[in-house]
Amino acid sequence: MANSKSAYSIAGKKQKNDTHIIVVWVDNEAGVLARVVGLFSGRGYNIESLAVAEVDQKENISRITIVTTGTPQVIDQIKLQLKKLVPIHKVADFKREDKNVIFKEMALFKFVANNEKLTKAFNACKNYNPVVLDKTKKSKVIQITALRREIDKMSKNLTKFGLVSVSRTGAVAMTRGSDVFK
């Protein structure tokens, strides 16, 4: 809109978005998650998924894994802005395509169906480390771990086997090999 009656400039060309996994190590204190999430919402960055838990009880450190999309410039800003927050110790950034990093999400599927369908459902999950957590005559709760898009696909395909409920976590990440991110 070149003729917008605005006191501000007109938005420029949009660049291509990439998916990145940002991992931050923070002091586990009250409000720290709100600071991180508030930074994303306040500056208009995306969050596709989020996983948080304390990883070091002695040092009181939590690890937050955020899957986000943005242009290279936005991803840079996310990292730099995060680094400015007082309770944040370090920030790591991985591209989703990065072969040196393992990304995993976990999902719980509940199926309600007859025995034949339940068996088919379990077999369909075979590639994703399925574990049966609960079993009745009419139902099954199966846990799988996989990539985000694999879980997306599975939850779509499994409806025919009586999938009634899906609960899933955000992605967590770990580098391959002996190197540790400092």
């Binding site: 070149a2 003729n3 009656k5 605005s6 501000y8 400039s9 009250a30 400015k84 007082v86």
Partner: protein, 588 residues
């Protein structure tokens, strides 16, 4: 057994240890224990404001004019929410503030108690960091850390929220121990290699420009001295942002004036056409860059800033240097002197064509306006104010709007820390309380708030504060009865539909001054203006000066929207052949 102190006492002991001499505040239920201790700490003087926003802006004025952090003390709930505007203002303009708020007792938090609000939640996006003190044993450490966070790196506001029961509880006072690094957040990240690269760019440049901002002032007076040394050594032209005014003398020939939306023709054209831009402590704000795709298309850009997240945020730069400006400039000058002893001589020839071009732009005299003998032109009023005050060490604050831009264009600043204005947030009502804070920090100096009649009414109640503490601040109102900048945009962009920008019922400012117990002066004609200003300057009491100015005057030059720097609108003299039509009918 060591002595035990109450939370309230610990607050003041920390303020004492941080050498705080003045706090701005307003009492209330949840901070009463702290106010109760005030009498026992003689080194700390409390300034009672009339509204918590005023406390915040006063603390800002204090901080910006003195280089020390400003401290404010307010109560829970409305006290905290009233301070939010000032905290956001300080966050945008990088002003170090420490805001202490009272909170309802710990056991009532979350129950919607009387005057309760989620203070740390509300202020999280407008502070560098904030703390809710839940344990008395953490109080002293948090207080000291608050000062450290506010004043290190890129300065900014912090907030400490102290529940009332914590203020009563007792504990030992832990002495302050300065940590070397804050969670690994270091600030000087540049290397000699960066500096060498900068020198290389400087020595090759044929069309260079320095573009400096508030970061130079935040880095301390020494940084301004070093900047002057560097600018003289290189012979390069220099332009400044609104916040950077004063770090280089405005009456020096190398200074091109302010840049940006209402910047000078020569500064903006030089920014557009340069081949080397050295940004020192500025942040490529949207009021500066104009259309970002066409911002200075042919230049190599260097960005010196203490905040790594400022780099490449709006504009991609070729050489980022992250560090405190004082240390970067020190290294730069040292290297320059070592490697190019006769730099300025050899360089003069290389940039002489550039200076010729700049002189051509300068000859447009873009700040000129059409004078009048009947009505006071606002630009003329500021010129006269400058001429009559330039021999004193004057501190100027402003509100927000046309008068602010005219002040920036026509008042010439020669020293840092003399110019306090709300740039990032653009807070109307900033100037009057800020002047209170400046006068507290500099009791003997002349402090003038160049104001608009609409802005100043937003925080007018602080005149009462000025009277209470005998602060002889001068409120110089350019009264055009309009929200002038709104009116200007409506004239230029909205077909002269002056929707709600005219104030039909203004108070009589002279009578108002008298009602507050200060002095009111009115100037109506250009003829009497000088005498009235002199009368104001000779009054050793707070003054409200009602200067009736031309109601239709617009602020030029100006960059219309969607336009780069080289397509400016000049003043009425130039406008006959360049009417704003079609695409240009929007502002940046």
């Amino acid at each position: 057994m060591p002595k035990l102190y109450s939370g309230a006492e610990i607050v003041f002991k920390c303020l004492e240890d941080q050498n705080v001499s003045h706090i701005f505040g307003y009492p209330g239920g949840a901070v009463l224990p702290i106010y109760d201790e005030l009498k026992n700490f003689n080194s700390i003087k409390h300034i009672l404001v009339r509204h918590e926003q005023g406390a915040g802006h006063a603390a800002e004025g204090y901080a910006r004019s003195s280089g020390k952090p400003g401290v404010l003390l307010v109560t829970s709930g409305p006290g905290a929410t009233n301070a939010v505007t000032a905290l956001t203002d300080a966050y945008m303009d990088s002003v170090p503030l420490v805001c202490i708020t009272g909170q309802v007792p710990t056991h009532l938090i979350g129950t919607d108690a009387f005057q309760e609000c989620d203070t740390t939640g509300i202020t999280r996006p407008c502070t560098k960091h904030n703390w809710l003190v839940k344990d008395i044993n953490d109080l002293s450490e948090i207080m000291h850390k608050a000062f450290e966070v506010a004043t290190t790196g890129r300065p900014g506001p912090v907030l400490v929220d102290i529940p009332k029961d914590i203020q009563f509880q007792k504990t030992k006072y832990k002495n302050y121990r300065k940590e070397k690094k804050l969670n690994g957040k270091s600030h000087d990240n540049f290397s000699q290699k960066n500096i060498d690269e900068l020198i290389k760019l400087i020595s090759k440049a044929k069309k260079p420009i320095f573009y400096t901002g508030g970061g130079v002032i935040n880095s301390g007076p020494k940084a301004s001295e070093l900047l002057r040394e560097l600018v003289y050594a290189t012979g390069f032209p220099i332009t400044s942002t609104l916040q950077g005014l004063g770090c280089f003398p405005a009456d020096d020939n190398q200074f091109l004036g302010m840049l940006g939306m209402h910047g000078t023709y020569e500064a903006n054209n030089a920014m557009y056409s340069c081949d080397l831009m050295i940004n020192i402590g500025a942040r490529f704000d949207d009021r500066i860059t104009g259309k970002i795709d066409e911002f200075s298309p042919k230049s190599k850009k260097v960005h010196i800033d203490i905040d790594p997240s400022s780099i490449n945020k709006n504009v991609k730069v070729d050489l980022p240097i992250v560090g405190d400006i004082k240390s970067v400039l020190t290294s730069t000058l040292k290297t320059l002197k070592k490697s190019k002893k006769k730099f300025s001589k050899s360089n003069k020839h290389q940039i002489s064509n550039w200076w010729e071009k700049i002189q051509k732009w300068r000859s447009k005299r873009s700040l000129d306006y059409i004078g009048s003998e009947e009505t006071i032109k606002p630009q003329y009023a500021i010129e006269r104010l400058y001429e009559l005050t330039k021999d004193r060490d004057t501190y100027i604050t402003t509100e927000v709007g046309q008068h602010q831009m005219w002040a920036a264009q026509h008042y010439k600043f020669n020293k840092p820390n003399r110019w306090m204005t709300s740039g990032g947030l653009g807070t109307m009502g900033y100037g009057l309380p800020a002047a209170v804070g400046v006068q507290i920090a500099h009791p003997k100096k002349l402090v003038v708030d160049i104001a608009g009649e609409a802005s100043v009414l937003m925080t007018m109640q602080e005149m009462s504060t000025a009277v209470q503490y005998n602060l002889p601040i001068k409120i110089f109102i350019l009264n055009n009865e309009y929200m002038g900048m709104v009116r200007q945009w409506q004239e230029l962009l909205h077909d002269k539909n002056y929707s709600e920008s005219y104030t039909a019922a203004l108070p009589d400012f002279v009578k108002m001054a008298e009602a507050y117990g200060c002095v009111g002066i009115r100037a109506k004609t250009p003829e009497e203006l000088d005498d009235k200003i002199i009368e104001m300057l000779n009054t050793d009491r707070p003054v409200i000066f009602d200067c009736l100015v031309d109601k239709q005057e617009n602020c030029f030059p100006m960059i219309p929207s969607g336009k780069p720097h080289n397509q400016m609108l000049l003043g009425p003299k130039d406008q006959k052949d360049k009417k704003i039509t079609g695409k240009g009918r929007t502002l940046v």
